[in-house]
Symmetry: C2
Subunit: 256 residues, 2 copies
């Protein structure tokens, strides 16, 4: 199977496309439609990963999925995030993109909360033929714990690593990673991470899957392994996604 | 990973759960609800595979998916069969079954129309934990032809083989395989198949995935490889599914 050297992975945060303060799934459809328009001009190999937002986190907490292997709770949570994915995919299709849902419960297995295996043969063929796989944070079957909650960020890191992605963009609701004075950091490397980690730990954006600290950790690990540079940027600001997709540096770069 | 020696695979034909004469997806919801009730008492390892019926075949023909690698047509057909699967899964859940959708586009790759790889690690864990995977005829990514249409029957045969299923039931709209006088055959073996093949070729039940001849062929191949016995029976007749699930012989046996 051919290697795809120019794969871009774009993550859209759950807080960008849903109202994350809601305790039931509440979509931000105007944001989704704007984002789909920004993506529609892009013609290179692309994988979209989106967070679960209010379609996932409140249910994952309610059923305590990280601790209790409850099939009913897992099924309800999966159905909910799947319905957000379907809104996303159908909006992408309306914008002219050949988007295809890929649900992690169907193609991924984890071991104690970390992805241990993901089926990728179909994703390779999708990319070779101009299709855009759209993957999301989900509940997956776990070898140790029956179920685990897998964040979009972990999926991004896993895929970027396995598929040797050339660019990774993390579209969040902030301009990037901020220092303790609220100023956006231009770059994070393994050298300055220890210093930055201190104030990331008290970030307001903490959720069931680890918030900003979780994101930075995933991306630093990716960088250590593949050397890939990732960007955390504000996907709420119009044109930032198309700016990232057209090859520009944006937000905070996580790099070597 | 532990082997599941007592897996039952139950196929529900597309003609049982949809109006197959319709050229748009038309579900037979009362049939689905009755079937879910019949399954609800069953507590051993179970995989349900269902056909696409009018949610799949008219679209697969319209877009000529077997010959033209058209992403739009493939996406529309996949979305349609996925919506039938969701009706099926939600009805199973209402009947108290911990059913989980597994979409072949997400976990399967074919080579020139034959399944060459299917992700099974998650299905193993589902079965170990009492979940019931519900899989369906679908469009999948194909190594040679970009897309191919994979029948529920081919999925049954593949899974039965890989998972060493102990019982396979094919619930169709006929009492079994009929001879040329309209009498149901008790059994088909590789010895009497040549004789039977002649009149199966003119069966009215021919569809895009091969009809009754296709079914028998898949099951004979399975039998050759694993020795498993399969039963083709009438799933329209109330209580036949629960009769099969409770371990009885029914309809036409495909065996050594």
């Amino acid at each position: 199977m051919s290697q795809h050297k120019n794969i871009t992975i774009l993550k859209i945060g759950g807080s960008v496309i849903t109202d994350k303060s809601s305790d039931i799934g509440k979509v931000q459809i105007e944001e989704i439609e704007r984002i789909c328009q920004e993506i529609s001009g892009y013609s290179n190999d692309l994988i979209i990963v989106h967070g679960a937002g209010s379609y996932g986190h409140p249910l994952a907490k309610k059923y305590d999925l990280d601790n209790i292997p409850d099939p009913k709770g897992a099924i309800i949570t999966h159905s909910s995030v799947k319905s957000l994915n379907e809104i996303m995919v159908s909006s992408l299709q309306k914008a002219g993109i050949d988007a295809v849902s890929v649900h992690p419960l169907n193609n991924t297995v984890s071991n104690d909360g970390r992805i241990s295996d993901m089926f990728l043969s179909n994703i390779h063929i999708m990319l070779e033929n101009g299709l855009v796989p759209v993957i999301h944070g989900d509940v997956v079957m776990d070898i140790t714990n029956t179920f685990s909650v897998i964040s979009g960020d972990q999926i991004v890191s896993y895929l970027a690593n396995k598929l040797k992605a050339s660019r990774v963009g993390i579209g969040s609701i902030e301009d990037g990673v901020m220092d303790n004075k609220g100023k956006t950091l231009t770059k994070i490397t393994s050298s300055n991470f220890k210093e930055i980690e201190k104030f990331l730990g008290v970030s307001k954006n903490t959720d069931v899957t680890g918030g900003m600290l979780g994101k930075v950790n995933e991306l630093l690990q990716l960088c250590e392994i593949t050397g890939a540079t990732s960007y955390i940027f504000n996907a709420k600001k119009p044109n930032n996604i198309s700016y990232f997709l057209s090859g520009h540096n944006i937000g905070t770069a996580i790099k070597k």
